[in-house]
Symmetry: C2
Subunit: 236 residues, 2 copies
């Protein structure tokens, strides 16, 4: 999967999680890291495998997906730069519950798993940084479970669109979906035909789509329909 | 909510997570803990509140639930003794994303949140114990997301029943549901009428119900239908 290797330091610098590390601790991480370039649609690891590295996405887009025993697949999470790939499995040294693959060309930082677990035991700064990321991952997964149990697919889509409106005072907004509709359907936990129906319902609320571009003509009305949680909007 | 207070040491001893602590570290935890008795159907904390303590369930049954802005509620997790209530929110000192309440009479260990976060910074043993629990919580939530996206309600029920069969060689099994059917429906992410329909479908596969007692007449057949993940059966 690797089509090129950069000096490790270039990658570590791009992960905000490690911003606060002192130089000595950072050097220890650098010693167990490498930065690699990965082609589009390339598998980084597979559900059931034991982690050999903690991966961070530096550039590009990647997904975590689950596979049922009958082979059907679902997108669980779409990752954007700065995110780690399943810290939990690396920390407890147990099989991944999800597979990871790139969507686009990507750059990925890899920290070797066994020496990373050893470093956590001697470097509290690294332990705290990863613990914080793990806690945020847990909260993000909790929101998904809550939304899957409490909201319809159309409400989940409306909430998602509202989350893309950066100007909280906006009356209307022109959005660009950050990933294609098949990924969006997976992330929202519905089939693509349900996503199309959800977009059709939202058309009556002033949401127009044209490819990856979405025009929200009446943001307050969509927000009133979506009823996004205050909590979902906190910095995650 | 508290109807009695025991000496703290009695509670700490009952949490397997803390089994390996040395006496000095354990004493530090004891100094910030108390054990309380809680009545049935009593709220321990509410979604949106900032954590004041990390709670562990020692005896009884409790649930974590989410509330939508329209007031509808869903059970996210059913807790059994030994489990902590949402370690993540306590560690990052952010508002709970779920509410917690008892189902039955319960005994609960409370570790005060602020001094616990301080202890984590000076006592690596405590940090590692909580990090491990947080990672297991994350994996459990991941399984829920995966099952909600990949399995029907009937398949989720079948997987759940198979998980209650302790003898892996059993041809048939008599099970007792550990909690009532309204909680089970919430945990499986379906309405109670969907749960009833799911039980009706499983009747054709030899699953008979009588109140909280379930007779599985053909375990291999139910397992073949449920296709439980190997992964879901690992010690979580």
């Amino acid at each position: 999967m690797d089509v090129g290797v950069w000096p490790a330091a270039s990658g570590l610098r791009e992960v905000p999680l490690f911003d606060g590390l002192d130089p000595r601790t950072r050097a220890r991480l650098e010693a167990i890291s490498e930065t690699v370039a990965v082609s589009p649609r390339t598998e980084l690891f597979r559900q059931g495998e034991t982690p050999t590295a903690l991966h961070f996405l530096l550039q590009g887009q990647a997904i975590l997906s689950g596979t049922a025993p009958d082979g059907s697949q679902a997108v669980i999470e779409v990752l954007t730069p700065g995110a780690a790939f399943v810290v939990a499995s690396v920390l407890v040294d147990q099989a991944y519950l999800m597979s990871a693959s790139t969507v686009t060309s990507a750059r990925v930082l890899k920290l070797r798993a066994a020496p990373l677990r050893a470093l956590i035991r001697t470097e509290p700064q690294i332990a705290f940084a990863l613990m914080g990321m793990l806690a945020r991952n847990y909260r993000s997964m909790t929101r998904q479970v809550r939304d899957l149990k409490l909201r319809t697919a159309t409400q989940r889509l409306a909430c998602y669109l509202i989350s893309l409106v950066t100007d909280r005072e906006a009356k209307s907004a022109r959005l660009r979906l950050p990933f294609h509709k098949a990924l969006l359907a997976g992330r929202l936990g519905c089939r693509q035909d349900s996503l199309s129906r959800a977009f059709a319902v939202l058309r009556d609320l002033g949401v127009e789509t044209s490819g990856a571009t979405i025009m929200v003509n009446d943001v307050p009305r969509l927000r009133a329909y979506a009823m996004p949680d205050e909590l979902a909007e906190e910095a995650a």
